[in-house]
């Protein structure tokens, strides 16, 4: 009898403690989405079908999106996501586009008419310019997301391969 009362009391006490902790110490944000977002390339290109890397990460965390929808991340990002989430790696979904190396937008400045449409399209504010003034891309900030290409009325923006400054030694024995 005593044992039943004791155990029940303890269970109630601990339940109360856990309930309070869940209420008081609630973690802000979504830790799973945060971890997923860390593995995404932050290109903000929206090729995955979501308006940026954060929304895509949230969709993966909620189970709405698959892990193979990020062309800029390519195989490396898919493998990292599969590792994190304990799933099987897949090949990139061709519906989202093809993987390409790091790229960079370049504005043909002689053709630019200064319409500011690309500035409004750039998700990372990497284009500098003003109305009826020449625009230019801040190379260090550009993620190569291609979002500035469609709005340009004179097609003066092109993507060039980004020369990565950090050179790495090759993998030995391969």
């Amino acid at each position: 009898m005593l044992a039943i009362v004791l155990i029940t009391g303890l269970a109630l006490l601990m339940g109360l403690g856990l309930g309070l902790a869940a209420e008081r110490l609630r973690s802000s944000g979504d830790p799973v989405a945060d971890a997923i977002e860390k593995l995404l390339p932050q290109t903000q290109c929206a090729q995955c079908g979501y308006p940026g890397c954060r929304p895509y990460a949230q969709a993966i965390a909620a189970g709405d999106a698959d892990i193979n929808q990020c062309p800029p991340g390519g195989t490396a990002a898919i493998r990292a996501l599969a590792d994190l989430l304990g799933r099987e790696p897949k090949s990139l979904n061709p519906a989202n586009g093809a993987a390409s190396g790091p790229r960079l937008a370049r504005i043909d400045e002689s053709a630019c008419i200064g319409c500011t449409l690309c500035i409004q399209a750039c998700p990372v504010d990497a284009i500098l310019g003003a109305g009826k003034r020449m625009h230019t891309v801040i190379a260090g900030e550009c993620t190569g997301c291609e979002l500035c290409l469609p709005p340009c009325p004179v097609d003066c923006i092109e993507l060039i391969p980004a020369t990565s400054e950090a050179w790495a030694y090759p993998v030995p024995g391969r």
């Binding site: 977002e37 995404l40 390339p41 932050q42 290109t43 903000q44 940026g52 890397c53 954060r54 998700p123 990372v124 504010d125 990497a126 900030e141 993620t143 990565s164 400054e165 950090a166 050179w167 790495a168 030694y169 090759p170 993998v171 030995p172 024995g173």
Partner: protein, 511 residues
């Protein structure tokens, strides 16, 4: 002066054959003036220098042709008089094998100096001026790392160590410099000591050659500086000449991981750097030449040469009588840490202490690479105290973060582990790969973080603008939807009255 044997020791290391006698029979020779010099803008650690010249421009010997960009960067000077041919990408000795922007100078053969401003009493100058002059003279560490010297002098230290321990086989340029120009090294050491405000100065040399010790001893006595500088003998055990290892042997202290010798009040500079600093300030002769050992079984007549920076390596080899039939591999640096070059059109740069040509028997190993048997020979010889076999394991599995946890970034790439490995695994190749890949991933991570930050800021800004617009529209709608009645008229009348009331005092003042 105290001549002493250093008592400390570093963990691991291997005893290597010296093979220095091959090139040290003669004196330091000079070369005939080359027709064309190739001066890469990035010969040092840090940011590349910024070119100050145009193609077709006439320059004098010693003229500044590229300015340092930022704090960690070094100036470049014309090694002889001539005309700038072009500024273009050229093959330069660097691991990536990529071409790099270089100033190409056509020598005119006159070797005409710019006006010089020698300083007969440099030790009386304030230290800050010295740092600036060394910066302008392009002096960088000649031991191999080519770190700009002026940047090292920014922090004052307790003890200055001048490193004359040249531990890699074959390389003898520091040894020859000590034998022939000990006085310059000593005065350079005094100058650097004065600049740093250091209390002590130690010159360390290896104990295997008595002549170097005698030369330094004699020069110290001659110059009367024997009270100011101590001479230490260190055992020859590779990699004794590594900064961290030498400090451990001399002081018994360990430089903290990821830290600098300055953190424990020490600074280590090469003997060549000390001599270059002296020449730069005493004779106003910027760093445009250095001593290079040309040696190896693939060279007909090995020797040591005073070489102008930018001299093509093939001219250096030609001055030594050319290649022998056994010549198989060209290396810049020593056999342990050197960089194999694909051809001899590369120029001599500030980092080039040795041009080594190895024979077929040196290069071709009889044994293929075998699996790791976990014999721990590499652990016993690692001078940095790492676990090479564990690192190899993780890197092979592409678990670079695990390798980072085991401090792969503290690897000094000395090559001892690969040297002793009974399975002939090229271990250093794995560590180099891991270090550079980690650096690359860090950089990508930083870029991604910056992009995320900018995206978030932009999204917040767009949201704010949108909210402001909605609020404005709502206010307008509310205003329009209220029926225009007496209230509205009263409101207008009140507003007019308010404006009048505000205006009145102004009109009063005017009257």
């Amino acid at each position: 002066m105290i001549i002493q044997r250093a008592r400390g020791r570093f963990p691991g290391g291997v005893v290597m054959p010296h093979r220095k006698r091959l090139s040290t029979h003669g004196k330091i020779e000079s070369l005939p003036l080359p027709a064309q010099l190739i001066l890469p803008l990035s010969q040092h650690l840090g940011a590349p220098a910024k070119s100050l010249v145009e193609p077709g421009q006439q320059v004098c010997k010693g003229e500044l042709i590229a300015m340092p960009q930022g704090q960690i960067s070094a100036a470049i000077h014309a090694p002889t008089s001539g005309v700038i041919h072009n500024i273009e990408p050229r093959p330069v000795p660097q691991p990536s094998g990529q071409n790099a922007m270089s100033i190409v100078l056509d020598a005119d053969g006159h070797d005409r100096w710019r006006p010089r401003n020698p300083d007969p009493h440099p030790l009386e100058q304030p230290a800050s001026r010295m740092v600036e002059r060394l910066r302008r003279a392009g002096v960088a560490g000649l031991g191999g790392a080519v770190f700009p010297t002026h940047a090292k002098l920014a922090r004052s230290v307790e003890t200055l160590i001048i490193n004359g321990a040249e531990c890699e086989p074959y390389i003898a340029c520091d040894e020859m410099l000590i034998l022939e120009r000990a006085a310059e090294i000593i005065w350079g050491a005094m100058l650097l000591r004065h600049t740093l405000g250091a209390r002590r100065c130690i010159i360390a040399v290896e104990d295997h050659r008595a002549e170097t010790r005698k030369a330094l001893h004699q020069a110290l006595l001659d110059s009367g500086l024997d009270e100011c500088i101590d001479l230490r003998l260190v055992p020859s055990r590779y990699p004794e000449g590594g900064e961290r290892q030498l400090i451990q042997v001399l002081t018994g202290w360990e430089v903290p991981a990821q830290g600098l010798p300055q953190d424990i009040g020490l600074l280590c500079l090469n003997v060549g750097t000390a001599a270059a600093a002296w020449r730069a300030i005493r004779y106003d002769e910027p760093l445009f030449s250095r001593v290079v050992t040309v040696t190896g079984p693939g060279i007909r007549r090995p020797g040591n040469f005073q070489v102008l920076l930018g001299t093509p390596i093939k001219e250096l080899v030609a001055a030594c009588g050319g290649y022998t039939p056994q010549a198989t591999r060209l290396v810049m640096g020593g056999p342990m840490m050197g960089l194999a070059l694909p051809h001899d059109d590369h120029p001599v740069v500030k980092a080039c202490n040795c041009v080594l040509v190895l024979s077929r028997s040196d290069v071709e190993t009889m044994f293929p690479e075998m699996p790791c048997i976990r014999c721990m020979a590499c652990v016993d010889c690692c001078p940095a105290g790492l676990l090479p076999q564990q690192l190899f394991w993780h890197i092979q599995a592409d678990k670079l973060q695990r390798a980072r946890m085991l401090a792969v970034e503290d690897c000094i790439e000395c090559g001892c582990c690969a040297q002793v490995c009974p399975s002939h695994i090229p271990l250093v190749d794995y560590y180099r790969y891991a270090k550079s890949a980690l650096a690359q991933r860090d950089e990508a991570g930083r870029r991604a973080d910056a992009a995320r930050h900018r995206f978030e800021q932009r999204s917040a800004r767009v949201n704010r603008a949108e909210q402001a617009r909605t609020a404005r529209l709502q206010r307008r709608d509310a205003l329009l939807s209220t029926p225009s009645s007496g209230d509205r008229k009263a409101e207008i009348a009140a507003a007019v009255a308010r404006v009048r009331a505000q205006r009145k005092p102004v009109t009063d003042e005017k009257q």
